[in-house]
């Protein structure tokens, strides 16, 4: 395995979470899934509103899926709205047009996003470096315009409606899905499973290979790893998780706005991931939480909160490229 000594020359975004640090850092690392789930359990009770908690959950998961590709593999995609929106639309369409139950519909959404990611990934991974961002953006805009035109399926500009799920049947129990707290915890179960999966993936030899590709692609290839195939697999897994986030968002909102597919949504997840800390396990959720809190607070006194968010983002790129969590971690491992 490539040693972590390469991190000295690593790009600034690549905030390696020190696996071998002792004390608090090691404990955080070891119990990262349990700690994340604990934090998520507390979220509805510490945030000002339950709606905000669900948003943090959905966008945090979206950012976790995105971070696999951007933070860990070093591929800056600007097209992940296609998977988030694709997962949301397909879930909604499966319920509204085919009368599927909520769970099979979610499966359709997640798998559909995976297929979409396989196609987009296969096309965009052929291109190198900075091209990748442009190609992913343009391909996701293709999905956006297809959804706009296929209005008999997607509702076009008005978004997809008419698939409200009011009760869930879970192993014989009926859950009132209109109760925000119950809804939050049902959705959280899926997010928790995804987090566990991502953590396992990152700890596996495969996880080491994707970080090796980020640190030094040529060297990873020289070591005999199939770089293209690995990138494609990460792209698909990332798409699946973002699709799951989209499916959860569809079930939560009971509407899929067309803007979900727009590249501004891809931009949101890029900003959240970078604010929190790309390439760190907790970073994406921290980023989603901070971003949505800023939006929540700033939109109270100005409708132009995007200006504030944009300026904060620029400041982070210039001065804190490791993000909030990434900076905290590197401070600790230095001292």
């Amino acid at each position: 395995m490539p040693p972590s000594s390469a991190s000295a020359a690593a790009p600034p975004l690549a905030a390696r979470t020190g696996v071998k640090t002792t004390g608090l850092g090691a404990a955080l690392q070891r119990w990262r899934v349990a700690l994340s789930i604990l934090a998520l359990c507390l979220l509805p009770w510490v945030l000002p509103s339950q709606a905000l908690a669900v948003n943090v959950l959905v966008f945090g998961l979206f950012a976790v899926g995105y971070n696999l590709l951007f933070g860990y593999t070093g591929l800056l995609s600007f097209g992940h709205a296609a998977f988030f929106g694709g997962g949301a639309y397909l879930t909604g369409i499966a319920i509204a047009h085919f009368g599927l139950g909520w769970f099979p519909a979610m499966l359709v959404g997640v798998l559909g996003a995976g297929v979409l990611a396989a196609i987009m990934g296969a096309l965009s991974i052929r291109t190198r470096g900075i091209y990748f961002s442009m190609v992913t953006l343009a391909l996701s805009q293709l999905v956006y315009y297809v959804a706009l035109q296929a209005s008999s399926w997607t509702g076009g500009e008005n978004g997809l409606r008419g698939f409200t799920v009011s009760t869930l049947n879970l192993f014989g129990f009926t859950v009132d899905f209109l109760d925000p707290v119950k809804k939050y915890y049902v959705l959280m179960v899926f997010a928790a499973l995804a987090l566990w999966f991502v953590s396992r993936l990152l700890n596996s030899p495969f996880g080491a290979v994707i970080e090796a590709i980020r640190e030094n692609e040529t060297r990873a290839r020289a070591c005999g790893y199939d770089v293209e195939r690995t990138k494609l697999i990460v792209f698909i897994v990332s798409g699946l998780i973002c699709g799951l986030a989209g499916a959860l968002s569809a079930l939560h909102l009971a509407i899929v706005p067309l803007d979900t597919l727009h590249y501004q949504t891809s931009g949101l997840v890029v900003m959240m991931t970078l604010l929190g800390g790309a390439g760190s396990f907790f970073g994406p959720f921290v980023g989603a939480l901070v971003f949505l809190l800023i939006e929540d607070v700033a939109s109270l006194w100005t409708s132009h909160w995007q200006l504030i968010v944009g300026l904060i983002f620029i400041a982070f790129v210039l001065f804190l490229p490791k993000g909030i969590w990434g900076t905290l971690i590197s401070r600790r491992s230095q001292g």
Partner: protein, 290 residues
């Protein structure tokens, strides 16, 4: 389907191609010389359109808008390069991209604050309104003017880059910045100038497009995607590539509009996917750039 209609669509396609070339030019020049992708490109296009609108309102003259707006926005672009992008040259290639994305976000919101969120109509200048008889049908004069102006801009650019000493230095600087520094060329000033030029061209595209498109704070989002499609098809950093790709896409879009209007926007992206399958570096691209 008669021939005249097809010929007219062909003309529309060329006119659309000229607009697309103009939309992609600034992006491709900045990438070709500096190696950075300007994600604020669409927003600067929009700022150019608004600047043109403002100058035209103040002076009551479209020609002043065409001249002053690109100059002013170009100067603004130089400020961006000097204070925001220059600190990032030594970092990963992703950092300028992320920064300009954030900048685009800020610019759109700033324009919303100053000019409001609704679209503003931009009248076609009186001297250029009306239609011309092309023999097969009538064609808007303004679109012909755009095609002509874009051709002039392209020729001037080609001349400046290929035939002058400044162009020689710029091209050498793109190939080997370190060697140029050793030879005593102030590469920072050069990049400042190139970035300013790229942004000025983008703003010119915005002013030119203003009478044909809706001037809204969000008009840049489509332009950014279009410019990406054109540069990816043509090959990043290639002027000739941008010209050929712009024309191909323009004609393809307007021909599709004739037969299947609902597919018109989609065909542009499909064309890009096709090029990526068979020639990932684009039609005139020279493989990957570091």
């Amino acid at each position: 389907m008669d021939l005249e209609l097809i010929l007219m669509q062909l003309f529309s396609g060329v006119a659309l191609g000229a607009v697309l070339i103009m939309a992609a030019l600034g992006l491709t020049i900045i990438f070709g010389m500096l190696g950075i992708v300007n994600f604020a490109h669409g927003a600067l296009f929009m700022v150019g359109a608004y600047a043109g609108l403002w100058v035209a309102e103040q002076t009551g003259n479209f020609w002043w808008a065409l001249l002053l707006a690109p100059l002013a926005v170009g100067a603004f672009g130089m400020l961006i390069e000097r204070f925001l992008i220059r600190p990032l040259y030594k970092r990963s290639v992703d950092d300028p991209l992320l920064l300009t994305f954030g900048l685009g976000y800020v610019l759109v919101e700033a324009v919303r604050i100053v000019f409001g969120t609704d679209g503003v109509p931009f009248a076609t200048p009186e001297a250029l309104s009306g239609v011309v008889d092309l023999g097969v049908g009538y064609f808007p004069l303004y679109r012909l003017f755009v095609v002509g102006l874009v051709a002039v801009v392209l020729l001037a650019l080609w001349f400046a880059l290929e035939k002058t000493r400044f162009g020689l230095i710029v091209r050498a600087g793109a190939k080997d910045p370190l060697m140029m520094r050793v030879l005593g060329v102030d590469i920072s000033a050069l990049w400042l100038a190139v970035f300013g030029l790229g942004v000025a061209l983008t703003a010119l595209g915005g002013v030119l497009a203003a009478p044909m498109r809706n001037v809204t704070p969000e008009m840049g989002t489509l332009v950014l995607a279009e410019a990406f499609v054109v540069t990816v098809i043509g090959g990043m950093g290639s002027l000739l590539g941008a010209v050929v790709a712009g024309l191909v896409v323009g004609v393809a879009v307007s021909m599709t509009a004739l037969f299947a209007p609902e597919m018109a926007t989609i065909v542009m992206f499909a064309l890009m996917a096709l090029v990526l399958l068979f020639r990932p570096q684009g039609l005139f691209g020279q493989g990957a750039r570091a």
